[in-house]
């Protein structure tokens, strides 16, 4: 179950326009250690595409994504 994924840091990115969620996530992930998990919540529909693409290009891993109404939650493992 996705709800049970533990995270080491949370970012509330609700209401931010593109590309701010990605900008903040790419900074936020530097605050955790490799192997730790960052939880990010956005309301920007573009992030559904942006986050996986960013993870690919930056060498990080998205463990899980789930949507709840407007809100989209990502669990990202710092791998690089």
């Amino acid at each position: 179950m996705t709800e049970q994924l533990n995270s080491d840091k949370e970012l509330d990115l609700k209401g931010l326009p593109c590309p701010m969620p990605i900008v903040k996530v790419s900074k936020g992930i530097k605050d955790i250690e490799i192997g730790q998990v960052l939880k990010a919540v956005t309301t920007d529909p573009g992030s559904l595409n942006d986050f996986p693409a960013w993870a690919r290009s930056s060498g990080n891993e998205i463990l899980d994504t789930h949507q709840n109404g407007e809100e989209i939650t990502f669990y990202i493992k710092r791998s690089a």
Binding site: P17, N49, D50, P52, A53, R56
Partner: protein, 417 residues
């Protein structure tokens, strides 16, 4: 700086020396006419913020390595070696310039500071000293192009959640898709931004006009252009070009994003399709009677901010005004006019750098805030994502007391049957 890096940077510099750029570097009498034509200098009168000074930062290196005068008598033109200090200066110059090209209008020679700054930006990339956020964003865009098949499903899923919003604005016949994607032979391929605000109003207007359109899987914004990387700029715009060719569309319409429009329309060579801005498409619908607008929808005075990359640098000047005539009886033109309009202060990647540049963006755009206030307008319309974000920040900072709106969303809200 080691010799190897220096050689690499000089090679990058050489690659930038087209006939036009060399003309710009060869000429400048340092008359200083450009100084207060720059919003940064006009707002903060510090010499390093004049366009000519910024250009000299690049020009001094040019003289040192590419000119006889700089090699023989470096003192005459203050030719400078390319070292760490030079890189710091290049960064300060390139990222305090929004590439609005207002100085170019006044310069007796028409020197294009944006072109000169593109050298500075490329050297910074070569030295790994560019703002890493911009490169990260550019890489993300390119990665999206490479993995499009994997993410298509997710994207279409995301669009589904926007459908009711589109239908709320304009009802369509049952069985029709409110936001079509992948439509072969569409008349228009619309390239939006990732946010709903860029998709929903535009979709409603296309549907109202009965357009045979398709939404692109890619976002229009070109972070490669912001960071000044020609290879990445091309990769990012090629994603869209390839999609347009694959679908055999007649026209590609770029959303309200000045840089994306100018790159596609003017800076990436001839395309097998027509390139237009969303604003031009809306004006065309109005002219052809395909959509009708309620002129009493907005009863507050309206002014319009010309995005530099749309107006002065790409020629979309009359169409937004034509649209606004159908939206309000109280349109107030800014002074000075579009050709001489002040930049919002957010271009050139500064807005994408977010809070990092916020303080500078606010201080450097005081003249813009004054210009808006003088109109007495309560609604500030614009047609560029960057400008919209920056103007909203300015609105908070300078208490401009306006509502910043996208022109397309105003059109969508005023649609009538």
């Amino acid at each position: 700086m080691d010799k190897q890096l220096q050689d690499k940077l000089l090679e990058l510099f050489t690659g930038k020396l087209s006939r036009q750029v060399q003309l710009y570097l060869d000429t400048c009498s340092r008359c200083g006419v450009c100084s207060d034509t720059c919003h940064v200098y006009a707002s903060m009168p510090i010499p390093k913020y004049t366009p000519a000074y910024r250009a000299e930062v690049v020009r001094r290196i040019f003289k040192k390595y590419f000119k006889a005068q700089g090699k023989l008598l470096p003192v005459l033109g203050e030719a400078k070696i390319l070292d760490e200090t030079a890189l710091d200066e290049l960064k300060e110059a390139a990222y305090s310039c929004t590439g609005c090209r207002r100085c170019m209008v006044y310069c007796p020679f028409g020197i294009d500071t944006q072109q000169i700054m593109s050298i500075a930006k490329l050297l910074l990339i070569g030295a790994n000293s560019e703002p890493e956020i911009l490169t990260m964003l550019a890489d993300m865009s390119i990665s999206k192009g490479e993995s499009i098949e994997e993410s298509k499903e997710r994207f279409i899923e995301g669009l589904k959640r926007l459908e009711t919003d589109v239908i709320d604005k304009w009802k369509i016949k049952a069985g029709k898709t409110p936001i079509p994607t992948d439509a072969q032979n569409a008349d228009i391929l619309y390239v939006a931004l990732a946010g709903a605000h860029s998709i929903v109003p535009a979709a409603a207007i296309f549907n109202a006009a009965g357009e045979n359109w398709s939404l692109s899987f890619f976002e229009a914004v070109n972070f490669g252009a912001f960071v000044g990387d020609p290879a990445k700029t091309k990769l990012i715009s090629d994603r869209i070009v390839n999609e347009a060719k694959r679908l055999k569309v007649k026209e590609v319409s770029i959303c309200e994003c000045g840089t994306a429009f100018r790159v596609m329309k003017h800076l990436s060579g001839p395309q097998p399709f027509k390139v237009s801005s969303l604003t031009e498409v809306h004006a065309r619908y109005l002219r052809e009677g395909r959509i009708k607008l309620d002129q009493s929808k907005f009863d507050l005075p309206v002014t319009y901010h010309d995005p530099c990359q749309m107006a002065r640098n790409a020629g979309v000047i009359d169409d937004p005004r034509f649209i606004l005539q159908h939206l309000t009886d109280d349109f107030r033109e800014m002074a000075p006019d579009p050709k001489y309009n002040w930049c919002c202060g957010g271009g050139g990647g500064l807005v994408a750098l977010g809070e990092e540049t916020l303080d500078f963006r606010m201080k450097s755009a005081r003249v813009k805030a004054d210009q808006v206030k003088k109109t007495g307008a309560k609604i500030l319309a614009t047609a560029c994502e960057n400008c919209h974000t920056q103007l909203s920040d300015l609105n908070d900072h300078y208490k401009m007391n306006v509502e910043v709106k996208f022109l397309s969303s105003m059109v969508a809200d005023a649609l009538v049957h």
